[in-house]
Symmetry: none
Subunit: 249 residues, 2 copies
């Protein structure tokens, strides 16, 4: 991994955590402790962070919102592992579709730069543009709650594209009904995007496996699930119907 890439990852993590341990960064970047130490030294010289014994701390960041943020960061680790693996599937030159949603957003820092991204996720735009990734946005109705573009116009807009791969988030995965999401409109977008892709991937941490179905959106056969730990019973239940890639820490 290139130096600027590592630096970017480190600073990104610091935006969320305010304090990071060396070991976390070693895991995140898959490099040695020495390299991380060198990175931290450089970043400190550039006044991007402050080194502390055992890791690094954010400089100007807000120290005053631990309760909510702290909780979300604990749930962030599996999400990020999944995202990192998913991003490794993307090859240079690919044209990919990114579904709206926080899980899928985690992919962005790990994506190669020389690709084209199409998305209906408003939250994705800034991180993508900051990385200088060519980005197309689906047109249509802007839904406030999920920051997604949906509706009839979105479907029409989406139809003009074809994708090498698409990465979808879901609210739940149901062994019989398929991937579920509470909004029929969003479901239609997801389904269309999947049908426009040569390969489809669903990002889901284990909490999403449940037997509560809201809206059937697509048969399990058509996509690969990328998830973290999964108890054997659940896995067996799904394995006959779909491909499951389990990302371990």
């Amino acid at each position: 991994m290139l130096t600027p890439e590592r630096h970017r990852l480190i600073l990104q993590l610091l935006k969320e955590k305010s304090i990071v341990k060396i070991q976390e960064l070693v895991d995140l970047t898959q490099t040695s402790e020495s390299t991380i130490r060198r990175d931290l030294t450089q970043l400190e010289q550039g006044k991007f962070l402050k080194r502390i014994h055992g890791g690094a701390a954010r400089l100007q960041g807000k120290l005053s919102e631990p309760s909510m943020t702290e909780k979300s960061t604990k749930n962030l680790q599996p999400k990020r592992q999944i995202a990192q693996y998913a991003a490794s599937l993307v090859e240079e030159g690919d044209c990919i579709y990114l579904d709206a949603g926080s899980t899928v957003m985690e992919i962005i820092p790990f994506l190669p730069k020389d690709i084209v991204v199409v998305t209906n996720g408003l939250m994705h735009i800034n991180p993508l543009l900051e990385r200088n990734i060519t980005t197309y946005l689906i047109g249509g109705y802007a839904k406030q709650k999920t920051n997604a573009i949906i509706g009839r116009g979105a479907l029409a807009s989406l139809e003009h594209y074809r994708f090498d791969k698409c990465f979808m988030g879901v609210n739940g995965i149901h062994s019989q009904f398929g991937y579920t999401t509470p909004d029929q409109e969003e479901a239609m977008i997801k389904q269309l995007a999947i049908s426009l892709s040569r390969e489809a991937f669903v990002l889901s941490d284990d909490s999403k496996f449940s037997e509560i179905a809201f809206a059937k959106i697509v048969d399990l056969h058509e996509a690969t699930i990328i998830t973290n730990e999964l108890d054997p019973e659940t896995k067996e239940q799904y394995m006959s119907k779909t491909t499951i890639k389990v990302v371990t820490s």
Copy 2:
């Protein structure tokens, strides 16, 4: 657990409790009594708290209150005056187009709620959704520099709409060539949006009137210029070709 992280937890607990016992902190941080004592000593030296027998107490003055940044006075900038007037032209039930750009964005706080907005400006989305205004986004290529959606897809996406009014920003206004903008792609979007509107308005403070033309985008006849002060000579120069509404303070 890293030292600053413990310190943060201790101070946070002190915000809620005003007095904390050593044992509470041991439980909270999962460390030893010795460590907590050392932490308290350090935090007392830094004047963050006062040690008391059995624990620590919050001290009176709150240093941690970064005084709220003073909201801008009632001194309305020209941009805002123009925006406020422009917004007053919008009636309930209207469907309007908002061009990308910071000048046009100023309109948003003044818009009536019961309208439909279509835009190619990524920066507009959040303020619009926060006001619960129904918002549609044009699809297409996301241009980083101006945070605008442009390109062939954007034109196609735009074509499906019709507007009661549209509000455009410009880089310059040229008496002969018309409204100018440095990007041909953006110019095409602007031109199409204007042609799809029953009425078109151009928002421009006086600094935009200049004789430097980059790209002609539309005849002056088709739109009304909303601007602030304008010297008589300039005004006369344009008046025969377009409608000018001058907003005064």
